[in-house]
C-alpha cells in the first residue's frame, strides 16, 4: 500500500477511535467518580460508615476489574443491545468500554481521595461541615490533581480497550491494524498505526500530567 491509499483509511479510523474513547471517557468519569466517592465515604472509618454496603460495592467493582476486557465485551452483548439497540458499530462499543473502565477509574478515584489528609477532613468536621459539604468542598477539590491523573491513566487504558473493541466490529485504529496490518500483511500501514497510537498516547499523557501539575499546590 502507498501513502495515498493509507491516508484515507487512517483518518476515519482515527475519528472512530476518538469517538469511542471520548464518549466512554465522559461516561466513565460521570459514573466512576460517584462510585469512587461511595467506596471512600461508606468505608469503615469513612464519613458515613456502612461497611457491609461498601464491601458489596467493592465486590462488584472487583468483578468488573477481574474480567479480561475481551470477555467482558462479549459477556455484556445483551446489555449493549438493550442500551443502544445494536451490538456493532462505534456507538455500540461505548457501552462495554464504559462498563470496563468505570470500576478501573472508581478504584483510582478511591486512591486519590484517600490521599487527602485525615486532618483536613477532621478540621472541616470541627467547623461543622455536613458530609455533603466535606465531599464537595474538601475531598474532591483536594484530590483534584489525583483525579485528573487517574482519568489520564483511564483514557490511555481506554485507547487500548478500544483497539480490542475494533476487532469485534467497533471500527477504529485497532480494527484497521488487524484487518490490514495483520490479515493482509500491510507492514507500512501497521507501522503507521503503531506510531500514530504511540503519539496519541504520549500527547494525552503529557496533557494530563500538565493539567494535574497546574492544579496541584502541595
Amino acid at each position: 500500500m502507498t501513502w495515498e491509499e493509507i491516508l484515507p483509511l487512517l483518518w476515519p479510523a482515527t475519528l472512530e477511535t476518538a469517538q469511542m474513547v471520548g464518549w466512554s471517557t465522559l461516561f466513565t468519569a460521570l459514573l466512576g467518580l460517584p462510585l469512587g466517592v461511595a467506596l471512600v465515604v461508606f468505608d469503615r472509618g469513612g464519613l458515613r460508615p456502612l461497611p457491609a454496603f461498601k464491601s458489596g460495592l467493592g465486590f462488584v467493582v472487583n468483578i468488573g476489574r477481574s474480567l479480561p476486557f475481551i470477555v467482558l465485551m462479549i459477556a455484556i452483548i445483551p446489555f449493549t443491545r438493550l442500551v443502544v439497540g445494536t451490538t456493532i458499530g462505534t456507538a455500540a462499543f461505548v457501552v462495554p468500554l464504559t462498563v470496563g473502565a468505570v470500576p478501573f477509574y472508581a478504584r483510582l478515584v478511591e486512591t486519590a481521595l484517600r490521599e487527602v489528609g485525615a486532618d483536613v477532613v477532621q478540621a472541616a468536621q470541627a467547623m461543622g461541615a455536613s458530609r455533603t459539604t466535606i465531599v464537595r468542598k474538601v475531598l474532591l477539590p483536594e484530590a483534584l490533581p489525583g483525579l485528573v491523573a487517574g482519568l489520564t491513566v483511564t483514557v490511555v487504558a481506554l485507547i487500548g480497550y478500544s483497539a480490542m473493541a475494533g476487532t469485534l466490529g467497533g471500527g477504529g485504529l485497532g480494527d484497521l491494524a488487524v484487518r490490514y496490518g495483520y490479515q493482509r500483511f500491510e507492514t507500512l500501514l501497521m507501522i503507521v498505526t503503531v506510531v500514530l497510537l504511540l503519539v496519541i498516547v504520549q500527547l494525552l499523557q503529557s496533557l494530563g500530567d500538565w493539567v494535574a501539575r497546574r492544579l496541584s499546590h502541595k
Binding site: 489528609g117 478540621a123 472541616a124 468536621q125 470541627a126 467547623m127 461543622g128 455536613s130 483536594e142 499546590h217
Partner: protein
C-alpha cells in the same frame, strides 16, 4: 464555659480517658499538659465531639453537646474554633479561601465573607497575603491562617491541638503571644493541649496535668504553685530528686528581690547552704523555688520566720 464530667473513652480494650472532669472558666486560657499517649488529644476531641465519649457529658457555652443530633451538633461546632498541629489548611484554596471556608459552611453571603476575611487577615498580621497559597507560607504563617479560620465564625471557645508543636521556639512564642492577645482583646476562652511546659508557663491561667487517661492535678496555676507537693511546681522547677532528708524547699511568689534568705542568716543562729533553685515568670508574676539545707540551734525559729514572710516552706523527708 466548657464543662466535661465523667468522660470515658474506650477503644476496644484500650482506655484512653478514664473518668475525666474538666472545668474551663469563661475568658481563661486552660492548658492540658501531658506526654503523648496520656489521652489529652482524645480529651480535646471529645470537647467538640470529633470523638464521641463512651460515657460522660460535655457542655460548651451552656449547651450539652452529647445530647445533640448531627445537624444541631454541626451548628454548635460552628461556634467552637479549632486549630491543629499540622495546620490542616486546604491546599486547593488560597489563604483567603481557607479563612472563608467556615463562613461558607455557615451560609454567610459572599460580600460579608470578603469583608470578614480582610478583617481576620489584619487581626492575625497577614494583611495582603490573602491571594497566596498555603504552600507559599512558613509554618508560623500557616498557623496564623489556621487561627484566622478558627475565629471566622466568632466562636466563644478556641480549641488548640498542639498548635505550636510543629514550630520552632521563636515562632512558637509569636503564636503564643497572638493567642494571649486574642484572649485578652476578644475575651476568647482557649483550651489548649500541649506536651510543652513552656506553653503552659507562657500563656496559661489554669492547667490540668494528664497521665494514663486521668487528670492528676488541675487548677489555677497561681494556686497550684502555692500548694505544697504540687506536681506542676516540681515540673516547672526541677530540683534534684529525691531531696536529701532534712533539706528545705522554699517557694516564693512575691518580689524575687526581697532579701529573706540573707535576713534569716543574719537574724538567727543558722547556717544556710543553697542546694539548687530557679526563678520563673509565671501567671503574671515571678515565682522562685529554692532548695536549701539549714543547720544550727535556731533552725525551727528560722523556718517559722520564713513562713511568716509568706514563703511556702516544705521540709523534705520528715
Amino acid at each position: 464555659m466548657i464543662q466535661a464530667s465523667g468522660l470515658r473513652k474506650q477503644y476496644g480494650e484500650t482506655v484512653a480517658l478514664d473518668g475525666v472532669d474538666l472545668h474551663v472558666r469563661e475568658g481563661e486560657i486552660y492548658g492540658v499538659l501531658g506526654q503523648s499517649g496520656a489521652g489529652k488529644s482524645t480529651l480535646l476531641r471529645c470537647v467538640n465531639l470529633l470523638e464521641r465519649p463512651t460515657a460522660g457529658t460535655v457542655t460548651v457555652a451552656g449547651q450539652d453537646l452529647t445530647a445533640l443530633r448531627s445537624a444541631e451538633l454541626n451548628r454548635a461546632r460552628q461556634r467552637i474554633g479549632m486549630i491543629h498541629q499540622h495546620f490542616a489548611l486546604l491546599s486547593s484554596r488560597t489563604v483567603a479561601g481557607n479563612i472563608a471556608f467556615p463562613l461558607e459552611i455557615m451560609g454567610v453571603p459572599r460580600a460579608e465573607r470578603d469583608r470578614r476575611v480582610a478583617e481576620l487577615l489584619e487581626l492575625v498580621g497577614l494583611a495582603g497575603r490573602g491571594k497566596d497559597r498555603p504552600n507559599q507560607l512558613s509554618g508560623g504563617q500557616k498557623q496564623r491562617v489556621g487561627i484566622a479560620r478558627a475565629l471566622a465564625g466568632n466562636p466563644s471557645v478556641l480549641l488548640s491541638d498542639e498548635a505550636t508543636s510543629a514550630l520552632d521556639p521563636a515562632t512558637t512564642q509569636s503564636i503564643l503571644a497572638l493567642l494571649k492577645r486574642l484572649n485578652t482583646e476578644l475575651g476568647l476562652t482557649i483550651l489548649l493541649i500541649t506536651h510543652e511546659m513552656n506553653v503552659v508557663k507562657s500563656v496559661c491561667d489554669s492547667v490540668a496535668i494528664m497521665a494514663h487517661g486521668r487528670i492528676e492535678e488541675s487548677g489555677a496555676i497561681a494556686d497550684l504553685i502555692r500548694t505544697p507537693g504540687s506536681r506542676l511546681t516540681r515540673e516547672i522547677f526541677p530540683l534534684p530528686e529525691p531531696a536529701p532528708a532534712g533539706s528545705v524547699t522554699l517557694t516564693f511568689t512575691g518580689d524575687p528581690r526581697q532579701p529573706v534568705v540573707s535576713e534569716v542568716v543574719r537574724k538567727f543562729d543558722v547556717d544556710l547552704s543553697i542546694l539548687g533553685g530557679s526563678i520563673e515568670d509565671l501567671a503574671g508574676g515571678s515565682v522562685g523555688r529554692l532548695r536549701v539545707a539549714l543547720d544550727g540551734a535556731e533552725t525551727a525559729a528560722a523556718l517559722a520566720y520564713l513562713r511568716d514572710a509568706g514563703l511556702i516552706v516544705e521540709v523534705e523527708g520528715s
